[in-house]
Amino acid sequence: MATVDLQLHAIHKGFGTFKALDGVSLDVAAGELVCLLGPSGCGKTTLLRCIAGLERQDNGRILFSGRDVSLLPPQARDYGILFQSYALFPNLTVCQNIAYGLTALGREASRNRVAEMLDLVGLTGSEHKYPAQLSGGQQQRVALARALAPSPSLLLLDEPMSALDAQVREHLCIELRSLQRQLGITTLMVTHNQDEAMLMADRIAVMNQGRVEQYAAPQAIYDAPATPFVAEFVGQGNWLPYQRDGAHARVGGLSLRLAKPGHSEQGRLFCRPEAVLVNPVSEQDNLFSARMRDMTFLGNRCRLSFELDDLPGHALLAEMAPEAMPQLHGNQIRVALPPHSLQVFA
């Protein structure tokens, strides 16, 4: 299947005084699946609609494999789109929905193509049902088949999982991802759900207030967030205000050793809850006594809320597997914040 790479250059889009997109640039390689992740109102859907030609950007260029499509109407671009609502036409059968974009193909070819698509999404036998007679997951697959039927070289997905129950979501994410790999089609997916993004994306573009804050592989996003926003939006974290003191950071009355001290004189330290060690058996750097405030059992892990003795009133979190829970004697614990897990933000 022919597929394209996608390039966005400094896309700007405003609605009145509101800047929906503030200079977004992005490169998507052919066959790659990229997720646009961000809170509602961050501009991710607007960006997708600009690429689709449903919204006209004020400024900037959009290239499909080097072909400038910035000013082309939607019909002249070459993509398929799956909407949040699926936008299946209720008065047409599954078969007619999938064949909707195939009118130029002729009867026979169109019928074959529909059969092929039904087979692809595993809905053979439902040709003559109406969308209302299908489950949410099946509707999603019909919408996907409809989008893919004219064999576009780019697939756009707008919050494809948000209308589905939590139970089927993960399963469908994996299914969609393997289908995308099988077809090798360049795909751009909008979501506000970090789990979906982590599960599916080759790369994630985290967006905030019309800008891309970080564009990297899922693991890099999680392990090395580029900005405080990314750190806060993806996963959970602890924040400690600090003043720099050589290779150390002073937090309240404490001194913490840092692996990468950074350059700014003060700022905030960031640390993932699962990086915090509670009552470690071996000797550790940055080991402090603390008082436990609360403990929550979350099934596959436990979450501990605590305060450092020298930093009272500042709640911090630690997470660990239940079997790794140390023996607790009263509320007094010792916690270590390993230097390599501490990230510095100005």
Binding site: M1, A2, R49, A52, G53, L54, P73, P74, Q75, A76, D78, Y79, G80, I81, F83, Q84, S85, A87, F89, P90, N91, L92, Y100, G101, L102, T103, A104, L105, G106, A109, N112, R113, E116, Y130, P131, A132, Q133, R146, A147, P150, S151
Partner: protein, 568 residues
């Protein structure tokens, strides 16, 4: 597989869908603009011009305006208009509120039939209640002793207009009382609130805007109606009648224009206030609200049944009387039944008028609904621009313009000697245009409501699949909105059958319509003939309405397989 791909790609490149779409959207919108300017805005401007800068010898101009509005006669007419219109509002709105409350919030039986009876006055011209009142309470009426001072005058006008405006008020109030959040009532009763307290704190605040709107609508309809006053007004003259007489009787076009402009004021005022109130009351019904369903309550249901039955009895009595009187040979001397009054062929224009009315109604319904529905689609489902904003505004104007005023505007605009469309004047075509323009807003709002219920991504999906917008409109939008479209067809048909106010100024002997024929027969003293023609209009519009309702129901049943989608 590879071959198919190549074909698909080749086909995609050749398709000029984009240009066709632009023609459909841009062309359609500019066409709408042209039509709305011609059929709505320019006639109104022509009237304004004629009234303010017109020929003083025809009663126009500022000096004439000062004289007219300062005269004692004008004040008397205005006083009469206001008095009867206010009386009608005070009678109709409470009754209609009770009726609507009974249908929406109680368990009275037979709601469908009751609703059908209550809508009867919509199917006949406004003269019909007047005619029936004459047979009931007139000098030779069956119940003449009830109004010993004669029905002709204030009470005749008030009763006739009360019957004529009742269904209009009822429809507004039915929709105002249609939606109620059951959770609020549960909360109220759990806090020990009495039903009366719940009504005052939940039902009334939610529906008072509807009450105001209904009051304004009734008031405006009464102020601008001359069908009832011309039949039972007697010496009780009102402004609307004066405008009619000034233009048709005395050729005082300027004077007619001035009164027309004056009659525009109450409508514009109430329209503005209503719009303002509506904006404030938006979102009263949240998305998670649960629909309120009334539980049986014997005393309450009984009381409302009594009210509803009394209203229905009055309506049935009045309409039954009209039908009966049309079948009586020679009132009140020979009460044997015959079709003598239906022998319209002996009258000038008799059956021609009925045929013309049918043509007018069918043409208005067919062309009007096609234009209005397509136009609404082009407004609702395309990118918003200054042009679409202008079109929306223009579509709203007819709502605030009474038929009488619009008709006068048409006279002034299309009768201009140097208007190239002058040839239309007096033709049935102009009557169709005027009727569609007159009833545009309600039809357009029905279409817009139906269209807004469709997923806004449908068009985007069609575009991404490279399907031309026009064929998407025909294949998906139209089938989905067919029930609403049939509603618009019915509304336009019935309105065209019964309207008098606008067309009275525009007909010629060749394009005489039935409702105007009723007026002329009544004027000539042939009240039996007028009753017969009114009955014919009533039966035609009611029959067509039933037919369309049946078609709509059949359609819904056939498409049930996919209409369930709305619940998903």
């Amino acid at each position: 597989m590879e071959q198919v791909m190549a074909m698909i790609r080749g086909a995609a490149r050749q398709r000029p869908a984009d240009r066709a779409d632009r023609l459909f959207v841009q062309g359609g919108q500019w066409l709408m603009l042209a039509l709305l300017l011609l059929a709505v805005l320019l006639p109104l401007l022509a009237m304004l011009w004629r009234g303010i800068f017109g020929d003083p010898s025809q009663g126009g101009g500022l000096a004439a305006a000062a004289e007219l509005f300062g005269s004692a006669n004008f004040r008397w007419l205005l006083g009469n208009s206001l008095k009867s219109a206010l009386a009608v509002v005070l009678i109709v709105v409470p009754l209609a509120y009770g009726f609507a409350y009974a249908l929406q919030r109680t368990c009275v039986p037979g709601k469908g039939v009751l609703r059908g009876i209550s809508l009867l006055p919509l199917f006949a011209p406004s003269m019909l209640p007047g005619i029936a009142l004459i047979y009931l309470f007139g000098n030779q009426g069956v119940l003449r002793d009830i109004f010993p001072d004669s029905i002709y005058g204030f009470w005749g006008v008030v009763l006739g207009q009360a019957i004529y405006t009742f269904p209009h008020a009822l429809m507004v109030l039915l929709s105002a009382l249609a939606l109620a959040d059951a959770r609020l009532f549960d909360a109220a009763s759990s806090m020990g609130a009495s039903p009366w307290r719940a009504f005052r704190s939940i039902t009334w605040p939610g529906s008072r805007q509807g009450v105001f709107a209904a009051g304004c609508l009734v008031f405006t309809l009464c102020i601008t109606d001359f069908g009832v006053p011309v039949v039972v007004g007697g010496d009780y003259q009102v402004l609307a009648l004066e405008a009619y007489k000034a233009v048709l009787g005395q050729q005082q076009f300027g004077r007619g224009a001035l009164i027309g402009l004056f009659l525009l004021l109450p409508a514009l005022l109430s329209f503005t206030v209503d719009l303002w109130l509506r904006r404030r009351q938006r979102d009263a019904m949240g998305g998670r609200a649960q629909a309120y369903v009334a539980k049986p309550h014997r005393r309450r249901d009984g009381a409302f049944m009594l009210l509803v039955l009394s209203v229905c009895a009055v309506l049935l009595g009045v309409f039954g009387m009209a039908v009966y009187s049309s079948l009586v040979k020679f009132w009140p001397y020979d009460l044997s039944l015959s079709l003598h009054n239906y022998a319209f062929s002996e009258l000038p224009g008799g059956w021609l008028a009925y045929r013309n009315s049918l043509t007018l109604a069918i043409a208005s319904a067919v062309f009007g609904s096609a234009l209005i529905f397509t136009g609404s689609y082009l407004l609702e489902k395309t990118r918003q621009s200054p042009l679409t904003q202008t079109l929306r505004l223009l579509c709203f104007i007819p709502m605030a313009v009474p038929g009488l005023v619009l008709g006068l505007g048409y006279v002034f605009f299309f009768n201009l000697p140097n208007n190239p469309l002058n040839g239309l004047y007096g033709s049935l075509t102009l009557l169709v245009i005027c009727t569609v323009a007159h009833f545009l807003t309600t039809a357009q709002m029905t279409a817009a409501t139906a269209l807004r219920q469709l997923d806004s991504e449908f068009e985007a999906a069609a575009l991404s699949l490279k399907v031309p917008l026009f064929s998407h409109f025909l294949r998906v939008t139209l089938p989905m909105c067919l029930p609403a479209l049939l509603d618009i067809v019915r509304y336009l048909f019935v309105s065209a059958m019964t309207t008098v106010s606008a067309v009275i100024f525009l007909y010629s002997p060749d394009s005489l319509v039935a409702s105007v024929a009723v007026l002329n027969m009544d004027d000539a003293g042939n009240v039996g003939g007028a009753a017969a023609m009114s009955t014919l209009i009533l039966l035609t519009s009611a029959g067509v309405s039933l037919l369309l309702a049946g078609a709509s129901r059949g359609l819904l049943r056939r498409s049930q397989a996919w209409r369930g989608a709305a619940n998903h």
